[in-house]
Amino acid sequence: MQPASDLHVEWVQDEAVVLNRGSGELHYLNTSAALVLAAISEYGFDEGLAYVKSTQTDSLEDELPSLVEMMLEKGILIDE
Protein backbone atom coordinates (compact mmCIF):
# COMPACT_ATOMS: atom_id res chain seq x y z
CA MET A 1 0.00 0.00 0.00
CA GLN A 2 1.16 3.55 -0.69
CA PRO A 3 -0.13 7.11 -0.77
CA ALA A 4 -2.15 7.92 -3.89
CA SER A 5 -0.03 9.66 -6.50
CA ASP A 6 -2.28 12.66 -7.06
CA LEU A 7 -2.39 13.90 -3.48
CA HIS A 8 -1.38 17.34 -2.35
CA VAL A 9 -0.66 17.39 1.38
CA GLU A 10 -0.37 20.48 3.55
CA TRP A 11 1.12 19.80 6.96
CA VAL A 12 -0.38 22.21 9.46
CA GLN A 13 1.33 21.94 12.84
CA ASP A 14 0.74 18.27 13.80
CA GLU A 15 -2.17 17.76 11.44
CA ALA A 16 -2.66 17.55 7.69
CA VAL A 17 -5.09 18.69 5.04
CA VAL A 18 -5.04 16.43 2.01
CA LEU A 19 -6.34 17.39 -1.41
CA ASN A 20 -7.02 14.65 -3.94
CA ARG A 21 -6.26 16.52 -7.14
CA GLY A 22 -8.10 14.01 -9.26
CA SER A 23 -11.42 14.04 -7.43
CA GLY A 24 -11.14 17.47 -5.83
CA GLU A 25 -11.97 15.93 -2.45
CA LEU A 26 -10.45 17.50 0.61
CA HIS A 27 -9.65 15.55 3.78
CA TYR A 28 -8.61 16.52 7.27
CA LEU A 29 -6.17 14.25 9.12
CA ASN A 30 -5.81 14.57 12.87
CA THR A 31 -2.46 14.23 14.58
CA SER A 32 -2.48 10.43 14.61
CA ALA A 33 -3.55 10.02 10.98
CA ALA A 34 -1.12 12.71 9.84
CA LEU A 35 1.73 10.93 11.58
CA VAL A 36 0.84 7.62 9.95
CA LEU A 37 0.64 9.21 6.50
CA ALA A 38 3.95 10.99 7.03
CA ALA A 39 5.65 7.78 8.15
CA ILE A 40 4.28 5.77 5.21
CA SER A 41 5.23 8.54 2.77
CA GLU A 42 8.75 8.66 4.17
CA TYR A 43 9.54 4.97 4.76
CA GLY A 44 7.02 2.97 2.77
CA PHE A 45 4.04 1.09 4.17
CA ASP A 46 5.60 -1.68 6.24
CA GLU A 47 8.53 0.31 7.55
CA GLY A 48 6.31 3.32 8.13
CA LEU A 49 3.95 1.37 10.34
CA ALA A 50 6.92 -0.21 12.12
CA TYR A 51 8.28 3.26 12.76
CA VAL A 52 4.98 4.44 14.21
CA LYS A 53 4.74 1.34 16.43
CA SER A 54 8.27 1.80 17.72
CA THR A 55 8.03 5.47 18.57
CA GLN A 56 4.46 6.02 19.64
CA THR A 57 2.19 4.94 22.48
CA ASP A 58 0.29 1.66 22.61
CA SER A 59 -2.98 3.51 22.07
CA LEU A 60 -1.83 4.74 18.67
CA GLU A 61 -0.67 1.24 17.77
CA ASP A 62 -4.20 0.05 18.55
CA GLU A 63 -5.59 2.72 16.27
CA LEU A 64 -3.40 1.82 13.31
CA PRO A 65 -5.72 -0.67 11.57
CA SER A 66 -8.66 1.74 11.67
CA LEU A 67 -6.52 4.66 10.53
CA VAL A 68 -5.17 2.68 7.58
CA GLU A 69 -8.67 1.51 6.69
CA MET A 70 -9.98 5.07 6.85
CA MET A 71 -7.25 6.32 4.54
CA LEU A 72 -7.91 3.46 2.12
CA GLU A 73 -11.62 4.29 2.04
CA LYS A 74 -10.88 7.95 1.35
CA GLY A 75 -8.42 7.15 -1.41
CA ILE A 76 -5.48 8.64 0.48
CA LEU A 77 -3.81 5.24 0.51
CA ILE A 78 -4.13 2.81 -2.38
CA ASP A 79 -3.26 -0.83 -2.89
CA GLU A 80 -0.23 -1.14 -5.16
Binding site: H8, E10, V12, Q13, D14, E15, A16, V17, L19, R21, G24, L26, H27, Y28, L29, N30, A34
Partner: protein, 189 residues
Amino acid sequence: MSGVLEDVKALNDDPSPVARTRYNELLTLVVDDSDKRIRQVPTLYMGRSPIFGARDLTKVKERLSLMIEVIRLVSLRPTYMLTACEFNGEKGLCGRDFFNRSAYRSRLRQLGMRFSDHPVTYFNGQEFACDGWEAFVPKFVILRKDWDYPEDYSGVIRTTGGVLTFHLCAYRLQGVGAEELRQLTPLVR
Protein backbone atom coordinates in the same frame (compact mmCIF):
# COMPACT_ATOMS: atom_id res chain seq x y z
CA MET B 1 -45.70 36.28 -8.09
CA SER B 2 -45.07 36.76 -11.82
CA GLY B 3 -42.78 39.27 -13.45
CA VAL B 4 -40.50 39.76 -10.44
CA LEU B 5 -37.32 38.81 -12.31
CA GLU B 6 -38.00 40.56 -15.59
CA ASP B 7 -35.82 43.55 -14.78
CA VAL B 8 -32.89 41.63 -13.25
CA LYS B 9 -30.19 42.52 -15.77
CA ALA B 10 -27.70 39.86 -14.71
CA LEU B 11 -30.11 37.15 -15.75
CA ASN B 12 -30.16 38.43 -19.30
CA ASP B 13 -26.42 39.00 -19.70
CA ASP B 14 -24.11 36.78 -21.71
CA PRO B 15 -23.07 33.45 -20.17
CA SER B 16 -20.11 33.30 -17.80
CA PRO B 17 -16.70 33.83 -19.36
CA VAL B 18 -15.39 30.46 -18.27
CA ALA B 19 -18.27 28.03 -17.93
CA ARG B 20 -16.44 25.40 -15.95
CA THR B 21 -19.30 24.48 -13.67
CA ARG B 22 -23.05 24.72 -14.06
CA TYR B 23 -25.10 25.52 -11.00
CA ASN B 24 -28.71 24.51 -11.38
CA GLU B 25 -31.28 26.26 -9.18
CA LEU B 26 -28.57 27.64 -6.94
CA LEU B 27 -30.34 30.91 -6.15
CA THR B 28 -33.99 31.33 -5.28
CA LEU B 29 -35.88 34.55 -4.69
CA VAL B 30 -38.91 34.08 -2.46
CA VAL B 31 -41.58 36.75 -2.35
CA ASP B 32 -44.40 36.19 0.09
CA ASP B 33 -47.52 37.46 -1.58
CA SER B 34 -49.85 35.53 0.68
CA ASP B 35 -52.70 37.05 2.63
CA LYS B 36 -51.05 36.34 5.98
CA ARG B 37 -51.01 39.17 8.46
CA ILE B 38 -47.28 38.76 9.06
CA ARG B 39 -45.52 38.15 5.80
CA GLN B 40 -41.93 37.11 5.27
CA VAL B 41 -39.77 39.84 3.74
CA PRO B 42 -38.53 39.12 0.21
CA THR B 43 -35.61 36.75 0.70
CA LEU B 44 -32.83 35.43 -1.48
CA TYR B 45 -31.75 31.84 -0.86
CA MET B 46 -28.59 30.06 -1.90
CA GLY B 47 -29.53 26.43 -1.87
CA ARG B 48 -31.60 26.15 1.26
CA SER B 49 -29.83 28.93 3.17
CA PRO B 50 -31.24 32.46 3.25
CA ILE B 51 -28.50 34.92 2.35
CA PHE B 52 -30.27 38.25 2.04
CA GLY B 53 -33.62 39.69 3.01
CA ALA B 54 -35.11 43.16 2.91
CA ARG B 55 -38.53 44.77 2.94
CA ASP B 56 -37.64 46.53 -0.29
CA LEU B 57 -37.83 43.97 -3.11
CA THR B 58 -35.56 46.16 -5.24
CA LYS B 59 -32.72 45.69 -2.79
CA VAL B 60 -33.17 41.92 -2.83
CA LYS B 61 -33.13 41.89 -6.61
CA GLU B 62 -29.95 43.96 -6.56
CA ARG B 63 -28.41 41.32 -4.30
CA LEU B 64 -29.59 38.62 -6.70
CA SER B 65 -27.82 40.44 -9.54
CA LEU B 66 -24.70 40.77 -7.46
CA MET B 67 -24.67 37.07 -6.56
CA ILE B 68 -25.16 36.10 -10.18
CA GLU B 69 -22.13 38.19 -11.10
CA VAL B 70 -20.09 36.71 -8.26
CA ILE B 71 -20.91 33.17 -9.35
CA ARG B 72 -20.29 33.91 -13.01
CA LEU B 73 -16.78 35.10 -12.20
CA VAL B 74 -15.86 32.39 -9.68
CA SER B 75 -13.53 30.71 -12.15
CA LEU B 76 -11.55 33.93 -12.53
CA ARG B 77 -11.32 34.99 -8.90
CA PRO B 78 -10.87 32.75 -5.80
CA THR B 79 -14.15 33.42 -3.99
CA TYR B 80 -15.18 32.43 -0.49
CA MET B 81 -18.65 32.46 1.05
CA LEU B 82 -17.25 34.34 4.00
CA THR B 83 -18.23 37.87 5.01
CA ALA B 84 -15.56 40.35 5.98
CA CYS B 85 -16.13 41.75 9.45
CA GLU B 86 -14.37 43.94 11.95
CA PHE B 87 -14.31 43.97 15.75
CA ASN B 88 -12.25 46.26 17.96
CA GLY B 89 -10.17 47.34 14.99
CA GLU B 90 -9.35 43.77 13.93
CA LYS B 91 -10.62 42.37 10.69
CA GLY B 92 -11.85 38.82 10.34
CA LEU B 93 -14.14 36.52 8.41
CA CYS B 94 -17.62 35.27 9.26
CA GLY B 95 -18.91 31.99 7.91
CA ARG B 96 -21.25 31.11 10.73
CA ASP B 97 -24.20 32.13 8.60
CA PHE B 98 -24.83 34.20 5.51
CA PHE B 99 -28.11 35.93 6.28
CA ASN B 100 -27.96 39.69 6.82
CA ARG B 101 -31.00 39.56 9.13
CA SER B 102 -29.87 36.61 11.27
CA ALA B 103 -30.29 36.95 15.03
CA TYR B 104 -26.64 35.96 15.46
CA ARG B 105 -25.38 38.81 13.30
CA SER B 106 -27.76 41.26 14.95
CA ARG B 107 -26.38 40.30 18.32
CA LEU B 108 -22.80 40.66 17.13
CA ARG B 109 -23.61 44.10 15.75
CA GLN B 110 -25.00 45.10 19.14
CA LEU B 111 -21.69 44.01 20.64
CA GLY B 112 -19.76 46.18 18.19
CA MET B 113 -19.11 43.96 15.20
CA ARG B 114 -19.17 45.62 11.78
CA PHE B 115 -19.99 43.51 8.72
CA SER B 116 -19.15 44.23 5.12
CA ASP B 117 -22.16 44.67 2.91
CA HIS B 118 -20.49 42.49 0.32
CA PRO B 119 -21.57 38.83 0.66
CA VAL B 120 -18.27 37.18 -0.27
CA THR B 121 -14.54 37.69 0.02
CA TYR B 122 -11.76 37.12 -2.49
CA PHE B 123 -8.37 35.58 -1.81
CA ASN B 124 -5.38 36.98 -3.69
CA GLY B 125 -2.85 34.44 -2.49
CA GLN B 126 -1.87 36.42 0.57
CA GLU B 127 -4.87 38.35 1.81
CA PHE B 128 -8.64 38.43 1.71
CA ALA B 129 -10.54 41.36 0.26
CA CYS B 130 -14.04 42.40 -0.70
CA ASP B 131 -15.59 45.31 -2.50
CA GLY B 132 -15.31 48.43 -0.39
CA TRP B 133 -12.74 47.02 2.06
CA GLU B 134 -8.97 47.02 1.79
CA ALA B 135 -7.26 43.67 1.61
CA PHE B 136 -6.44 42.15 4.97
CA VAL B 137 -5.04 39.11 6.72
CA PRO B 138 -7.89 37.91 8.94
CA LYS B 139 -7.22 37.88 12.66
CA PHE B 140 -10.20 35.66 13.44
CA VAL B 141 -12.73 33.45 11.70
CA ILE B 142 -16.28 32.88 12.96
CA LEU B 143 -17.57 29.48 11.95
CA ARG B 144 -20.45 27.20 12.79
CA LYS B 145 -20.11 25.11 15.91
CA ASP B 146 -18.04 21.98 15.51
CA TRP B 147 -20.11 18.87 15.11
CA ASP B 148 -18.49 17.27 18.14
CA TYR B 149 -20.07 19.79 20.47
CA PRO B 150 -23.63 19.58 21.79
CA GLU B 151 -26.24 21.76 20.17
CA ASP B 152 -26.76 23.85 23.28
CA TYR B 153 -23.08 24.46 23.93
CA SER B 154 -22.32 28.11 24.60
CA GLY B 155 -18.82 29.56 24.46
CA VAL B 156 -15.81 30.07 22.24
CA ILE B 157 -14.35 26.92 20.72
CA ARG B 158 -10.73 27.34 19.72
CA THR B 159 -9.84 25.16 16.82
CA THR B 160 -6.55 23.82 15.54
CA GLY B 161 -4.73 24.97 12.43
CA GLY B 162 -5.51 21.84 10.47
CA VAL B 163 -9.20 21.96 11.29
CA LEU B 164 -9.37 25.68 10.47
CA THR B 165 -7.65 25.18 7.12
CA PHE B 166 -10.02 22.37 6.26
CA HIS B 167 -13.10 24.40 7.21
CA LEU B 168 -11.90 27.49 5.33
CA CYS B 169 -11.55 25.46 2.15
CA ALA B 170 -15.14 24.31 2.50
CA TYR B 171 -16.26 27.92 1.96
CA ARG B 172 -14.41 28.23 -1.33
CA LEU B 173 -16.87 28.36 -4.20
CA GLN B 174 -15.96 25.82 -6.84
CA GLY B 175 -13.45 24.11 -4.57
CA VAL B 176 -9.84 24.84 -3.70
CA GLY B 177 -6.83 23.77 -5.75
CA ALA B 178 -3.40 22.69 -4.59
CA GLU B 179 -1.71 26.06 -5.13
CA GLU B 180 -4.39 27.95 -3.27
CA LEU B 181 -4.31 25.44 -0.42
CA ARG B 182 -0.57 25.98 -0.21
CA GLN B 183 -1.12 29.75 -0.03
CA LEU B 184 -3.82 29.50 2.62
CA THR B 185 -1.82 27.44 5.07
CA PRO B 186 0.62 30.18 6.17
CA LEU B 187 -2.31 32.42 7.12
CA VAL B 188 -3.63 29.74 9.44
CA ARG B 189 -0.26 29.18 11.05
